[in-house]
Symmetry: C2
Subunit: 361 residues, 2 copies
């Protein structure tokens, strides 16, 4: 098992990675003596892993709450449904929520826990690649409004994150690959060695070779931990994690969250950001090709058909990264380093969109 430590001015907690990480959840709950524990999960995951999770954690008396799958649960209606279940089952101020799930359940349940009676503890046991290396770490919680993603939320760190890479084995190949885009993202924004590690080990990574999984997850999660440790409140540094997300979110919104998995939208978003950076002469073409090649080799990505660059540009204004009407772009200058840029002409976005739509992904 590999352990990482988040340590900021206001919070400190452990990220355990490995096939014995779930045991830590049980140990932690026993130590904290919660009045009651609520496992929030979704039926597919609970069917596949529930028995094993209870065995590993020993949380046999916990109450299990199932959340409907899919991005649409990440809404105020989802908040209400989950909170009402907690009230009905008498969750009180000394109760805890243990999340066994991916980004959607994690964001939703983390948000509800952070506002339930003005905040009860959350423990994250992420079950997707994106959640294990990114969304379960750092304390960002939230739900969508019909108008825009993650519009309402809190910054409330979990008490513990326990990532067991074994669970990724039950993801569909598409869902698994979708998470790899975020791992690549972590390489591009901060860690060229991680980028090349993924490039050189693509085969065993795609095959989920157990020998390599703990290392990959812990490494990619480590990038997030380092960023959070230096900037919990997203003043500036933390924004680099949004690489690929500016256009990624717009793509998701334009297709009503139906066509792309989140990681896939980020994959396209990175390809677009990559082209924009190259066109702006920020990023050398050799680096741009390496990034493009690796992203394309994780494909296929759902097509961009029917989406117009004009549509995307209109959606950018609603992004949380837009301040005083100015879109904040995260663009790479080389593998391992990105910068925040505020001036990107619409014509440049349109050109990048046309070019990228022709890539062999």
């Amino acid at each position: 098992m590999i352990q990482l430590r988040v340590q900021t001015g206001t919070s400190s907690y452990t990220i355990s990675v490995g096939n014995r990480a779930w045991q830590e959840v049980g140990r932690f709950c026993r130590r904290e003596k919660y009045s009651s524990v609520f496992i929030v999960t979704e039926s597919r995951i609970w069917r596949a892993w529930g028995r094993k999770f209870l065995q590993a954690t020993g949380l046999h008396s916990a109450s299990v709450i199932l959340v409907p799958p899919g991005e649409r649960s990440k809404s105020l209606a989802g908040v209400k449904a989950l909170a009402q279940k907690l009230v009905k089952r008498r969750a009180d101020r000394e109760s805890a929520v243990v999340v066994l799930g991916g980004g959607v359940v994690g964001d939703l349940a983390g948000f509800v826990a952070s506002i339930y009676m003005r905040g009860i503890d959350t423990i994250q046991a992420p079950t997707t690649m994106v959640a294990q290396i990114d969304s379960a770490i750092g304390g960002k919680t939230g739900v969508n409004l019909p108008e825009a993603k993650n519009m309402l939320g809190t910054l409330t760190p979990p008490r513990l994150v326990a990532a067991n890479p074994e669970v990724l084995g039950s993801l569909s190949p598409r869902a698994y690959r979708s998470g790899l885009y975020e791992a690549v993202k972590h390489g591009i924004i901060q860690d060229p060695r991680l980028f090349h590690f993924i490039r050189e080990n693509l085969k065993p990574i795609l095959a989920q070779d157990p020998k390599i999984m703990d290392r990959l997850i812990a490494w990619a999660a480590g990038v997030k931990v380092r960023v959070v440790n230096r900037d919990e409140r997203e003043s500036d540094l933390r924004r680099i994690l949004n690489f690929g997300h500016t256009l990624g979110h717009a793509l998701e919104a334009a297709t009503h969250y139906r066509r792309f998995l989140h990681g896939e939208a980020v994959g396209w978003g990175m390809l677009l950001a990559n082209r924009i950076a190259e066109e702006k002469k920020m990023l050398p073409p050799t680096e741009a090709r390496k990034i493009e090649e690796l992203i394309c080799s994780l494909g296929p990505l759902p097509s961009l058909q029917g989406i117009t660059s004009r549509q995307l540009v209109a959606l950018l204004g609603r992004d949380k990264k837009t301040v005083r009407g100015v879109v904040h772009w995260i663009l790479s200058e080389r593998i391992g380093s990105v910068r925040i840029v505020t001036r990107v002409a619409n014509t440049l976005i349109e050109k990048a969109f046309r070019d990228v739509a022709r890539l062999p992904v």
Copy 2:
């Protein structure tokens, strides 16, 4: 103008009390250079005070958002409606919400601001007695679930509180008196001199004599400030502010928030807590009579008819102050001092309820 200062480990802000307090709002907003300012208020208040508020603050370019009056706005539906308006009018991370209103608008808008894009600034300009001396101070925000009050919320301090007692002049006499119960509460829990000040100045207070209002508001608000300064996170001390609220909330829920104004329910709740403390021999009868007399002299209170003590007992289990199934009662031992008590027999609650229902209020 009287200025108080909240200073805790995590926050520090000013409470300005007086008929020039609104000027401070304008000064603060100009200093902070917000990208945009949203005044959240309700139509009755805006009609009566909007022009004067804009004059005093100079916030002529602010966007005004009206929230429907009444406790029912304090719901997740209310959150959604307000948040969607903010999105539509392009509120961004550097925007601020200025609340001009009572407890309902303050709790709702404070909550929405605290989760909008994971938190933008709030400035409170409270317009009811309860809000000026209590709810606008300390950072508690939140909304109700159908099952229980204030079930979802955050603890997010405002950046400034500006209480202008003049606005209380446009409250209905009933709404104004309702706020006085909370002022009396502050006397009972911590400040015998405040209690006696209210008792001895009842006539000018009921008549809202301007010569006395600033002092009353600042004094009662000062009790809240002292409590918050010592215990922002409601570990223990802050719970004393819930005096009268355990049964008060149950009364509100039992009558679906329709019969009592919040302060009135607290009035009844204090009468009940008073009797329970007396029956338990915690509180000397002479003190109990003084408390009872003062509360009754603020009346009339809407009757308890049709409510059963059994109903109330059942509702107590859902209160946020209930932990591990144990209700936490705040009971007075003398004027100026309360204690947290966990053992109160249901028969005692029932007896107190019968006795209190016969009081001449």
